[in-house]
């Protein structure tokens, strides 16, 4: 019961689940509130602060991670829904101490300023290049039943779920093109 005079809403007790979460190749047993998003679990419980919270509404892409290799928005993903999936965050892109080619290209092409959007851009770009290789069409693909190419227009359209307040777009496009072609 609420204390006297407290007219705030009465919330039932949290409901939790004990799950195994596989992140960047490590299986971690954790207890999560069913309401918790993957973004909050990564940042608040697993100390993986690469994925960023920009909008928390699916609009900015700063929270992008890979689930079974596909890019998703971790701010709209409930953690309990991905206990049987493989999650990759920006921290998991580099292998054996070497930057992922996409990370190296971002450095080489100066594809960021403040860096806040960068982890999301990187995860998104890595998965996006694979989507093109798999022949997925986009909104600027002239013939949706034809092959997909990775030109500037295609990159811009396919990366439109990742916003950059610093406006580093020109160099982001160049970095992705360098890796994708």
């Amino acid at each position: 019961m609420n204390g006297e005079g407290n007219s705030g809403p009465v919330f039932a007790d949290p409901i939790t689940a004990d799950i195994l979460l596989s992140v960047n190749g490590d299986e971690r047993p954790i207890t999560v509130d069913t309401r918790e998003t993957l973004l909050d679990t990564l940042r608040e419980h697993l100390d993986l602060i690469g994925a960023k919270k920009g909008c928390d509404h699916g609009q900015c892409g700063a929270c992008t991670v890979l689930v079974d290799g596909r890019r998703v928005k971790s701010c709209l993903t409930l953690t309990v829904t991905v206990d049987d999936r493989e999650i990759t965050t920006v921290e998991g892109l580099a292998a054996d101490g070497a930057l992922h080619p996409m990370q190296a290209a971002f450095v080489e092409r100066d594809a960021f300023q403040c860096g806040y959007c960068t982890p999301g851009q990187l995860c998104s770009a890595v998965a996006m290049v694979r989507e093109v290789a798999d022949g997925w069409p986009s909104a600027v693909t002239a013939d949706v039943s034809g092959p997909a190419v990775l030109d500037d227009d295609e990159i811009r359209e396919r990366m439109s779920g990742n916003l950059c307040r610093c406006g580093a777009y020109v160099n982001i496009v160049a970095a992705i093109k360098q890796v994708g072609s």
């Binding site: 409901i15 309401r35 998703v72 928005k73 993903t77 829904t81 996006m128 022949g135 909104a139």
Partner: protein, 332 residues
């Protein structure tokens, strides 16, 4: 956000049973697809279910060919997989185009076909629990009518609600007469589009004909050979990652410069994906010319009753219909 129980259904019958059971204290159970709309609305306090029944592990995540040359699309198919499917791209290009015109790559990877059909309106008052809204709280009023309605409906709206249905995917599905397969507490049934979504009337809280606990299991797209010549065109306030202001899905069957048959549906103009029946019948048997297209579009839009700030949608919709049809005539 209200605490909720999470259940993962593995077969259709147990999913429906879990949803029907709800919670002891009466807070309803709802299905969870990709969560891209539901999780957001829960966070905003617009909906507060007591149980989420996750249906993304149900075996309805495939696309099969039907006997006559149509497709049976499982409700759990992700939007990305729908748009990438070779038969969707070849037989119904406007469907693939509409899906990739919506949201972003990340959201399309999460969003399911069922969830896309059932996404709620983007009317800003609906999403703001500090404001009245007949759709969210029946009887509380509709501030949009006198307030911000620039992107709301111009056809078929009611005194109670002027919201639009935001889905791009649903527009070609309405043009194709897709059939929604439903499994409910009372058994299975099928509802053809349009007819699955409802006009607001005096019950805007109901977006569709679904009853509580009904699960969408599949969407069946009938065979329509001439849909290989089809196109989706979307007008939005920025070039990508924005909801439609107006959109058009159209398919043309041409013979010797005449329209033998056609399909046309409009998005962004109504509480439902709007099938342009009048324009279609005006066009059947008429020459495939700009003048005929403009006449047909005008006949459809004659029934528009725009509000002060969205009257621009009427000429915009007319022009987009004409342009889309001309594109189809000029297509190789």
């Amino acid at each position: 956000m209200r605490p909720f129980a999470y259940e993962r259904a593995t077969d259709v019958r147990s999913a429906v049973a879990a949803c029907a059971a709800g919670t002891a204290d009466g807070a309803g159970a709802v299905y969870l697809g990709g969560g891209t709309n539901l999780v957001d609305l829960m966070r905003l306090g617009v909906v507060s279910p007591g149980v989420l029944v996750d249906v993304t592990r149900l075996p309805f995540d495939g696309i099969e060919e039907t006997a006559g040359g149509g497709l049976l699309i499982g409700a759990g198919v992700r939007n990305s997989d729908l748009a990438a499917h070779p038969l969707v791209r070849r037989r119904y290009p406007m469907l693939a185009q509409a899906v990739v015109a919506g949201a972003s790559g990340q959201i399309r990877n999460m969003a399911t076909v069922g969830g896309n059909l059932l996404q709620r309106t983007r009317c800003s008052y609906f999403q703001d629990v500090s404001k009245p809204c007949n759709k969210r709280v029946p009887g509380s009023g509709c501030p949009a009518r006198r307030g911000d309605h620039r992107n709301l409906a111009v056809i078929g709206q009611s005194e109670a609600c002027v919201a639009t249905h935001p889905s791009d995917m649903a527009v070609p599905l309405a043009a194709l007469g897709a059939v929604v397969h439903i499994e409910g507490p009372g058994g299975p049934r099928q509802v053809p589009m349009p007819g699955f979504h409802r006009l607001p009337g005096d019950a805007p809280e109901r977006d569709t004909v679904l009853e509580p606990g009904d699960l969408v299991t599949a969407v069946e797209v009938p065979p329509l050979p001439f849909a290989a010549r089809s196109r989706y065109r979307k007008v939005r306030d920025r070039v990508s990652f924005a909801f439609a202001v107006v959109s058009v899905a159209a398919a043309l069957d041409l013979e010797d410069g005449m329209v033998r048959d056609c399909r046309i549906a409009l998005g962004g103009v109504a509480h439902i994906p709007w099938r342009a029946d009048r324009a279609e019948s005006a066009l059947r048997g008429s020459p495939a010319t700009e003048a005929a297209f403009a006449q047909a579009a005008a006949e459809e839009l004659a029934m528009a009753t725009p509000l002060p700030h969205n009257a621009f949608k009427v000429p915009l919709a007319r022009n987009v219909v004409v342009r889309t049809l001309l594109d189809l005539v000029e297509a190789p």
